[in-house]
């Protein structure tokens, strides 16, 4: 019987934990973890969409803390699946599925995961959670601008937006990194 695994035991109820352990199935554990993280990430993203913002189009992207958590603690494919499911769930609930907003969300999430995976691969001593998160936020913003350019039919006015988006990536990336750090610290 395994006693340690992908870090979400602390979040599960005792019965769920014992059932998963007795089944001895790593796959089951991963599916349960994916369900929990997808629900949490979707809930955070939906809650965030209704909060007041400094600028109408600017969100901190707090749900990316759960994606970064998955990237650090889970197998490599897990964070990709989480982003896909989060985009599907939030798209269905917010009514943005297959709309420009939905594609921007999916493209941003995918770009962030790809970049954060590469950054994390630099090594634990070289780059910390802050660096990974901030580079992910930058990639997220650039991908969203690119998709916005595709839908708007012109890239130049969109790309002029880049300095603001780069600047916004720093505080949002640091907040996400701080949340992830707490998640990693508080879960086994």
């Amino acid at each position: 019987m395994r006693t340690t695994s992908y870090g979400l035991h602390g979040w599960c109820a005792g019965n769920d934990r014992s059932a998963a352990s007795s089944a001895g199935s790593e796959k089951l554990r991963l599916i349960v973890s994916l369900g929990i993280l997808t629900a949490a990430a979707s809930a955070v993203q939906i809650a965030e969409s209704s909060l007041p913002r400094l600028l109408p189009w600017l969100k901190p992207g707090l749900s990316n803390a759960l994606v970064l958590y998955a990237l650090i603690r889970m197998p490599p494919f897990f964070a990709w699946t989480l982003v896909l499911f989060r985009s599907l769930v939030t798209g269905i609930i917010l009514g943005t599925l297959f709309t420009p907003t939905g594609w921007m969300s999916l493209a941003g999430g995918a770009a962030a995961v790809a970049t954060m995976s590469l950054a994390a691969g630099l090594g634990q001593n070289r780059i910390g959670l802050s660096g990974i998160s901030v580079t992910g936020a930058v990639a997220h913003n650039i991908a969203q601008l690119a998709v916005a350019g595709c839908f708007a039919g012109s890239f130049i006015p969109i790309l002029l937006h880049l300095p603001i988006m780069l600047g916004a990536a720093v505080p949002s990336g640091l907040v996400v990194a701080a949340l992830t750090h707490q998640l990693l610290r508080r879960t086994p």
Partner: protein, 135 residues
């Protein structure tokens, strides 16, 4: 600051370099394209670009309030131009309404409504930046 994940630190020296480089790029870009650029200039024309590539140009009557009705991908929009030379999207059929919430911008800046596929004031001067991209 490692907690239960002793291998991954919260911040490293490389992180600091990345963050400093991003802040510098953002600040430099904002200086070139953003803050203060185009202030006080009121253009003679307003160009609106649609997602299908069509453009329409409207004459701006300085010192007058102007409402410009257009139809985007989601439906009708009203672009308003005020006496002070500012523009805004006063009404839009897009679901998010972020373009409306962006509010007034200087006439040297542009607003992009992605759901409607509309770029208001596409021909921004070289030194001006878009004020908002709405999803």
């Amino acid at each position: 600051m490692t907690g239960a994940n002793p291998g991954r630190r919260f911040i490293t020296r490389l992180d600091g370099v990345i963050i400093a480089a991003l802040i510098a790029c953002s600040f430099a870009g904002s200086l070139v394209y953003g803050f203060g650029a185009g202030r006080g200039k009121i253009p003679d024309r307003l160009t609106i670009r649609f997602a299908d590539g069509n453009r329409r140009t409207y004459e701006i009557r300085k010192g007058q309030v102007q409402d410009i009705p257009i139809v985007g991908r989601c439906g009708p929009m009203i672009i308003e131009f005020d006496r002070d030379g500012r523009i805004r999207i006063a009404a839009s059929a897009c679901p998010s309404q972020n373009c409306v919430r962006t509010g007034w911008v200087r006439s040297s800046e542009c607003i992009v409504c992605v759901p409607n596929g509309v770029i208001v004031n596409e021909n921004v001067p070289d030194e001006a930046a878009p004020d908002g991209i709405t999803r």
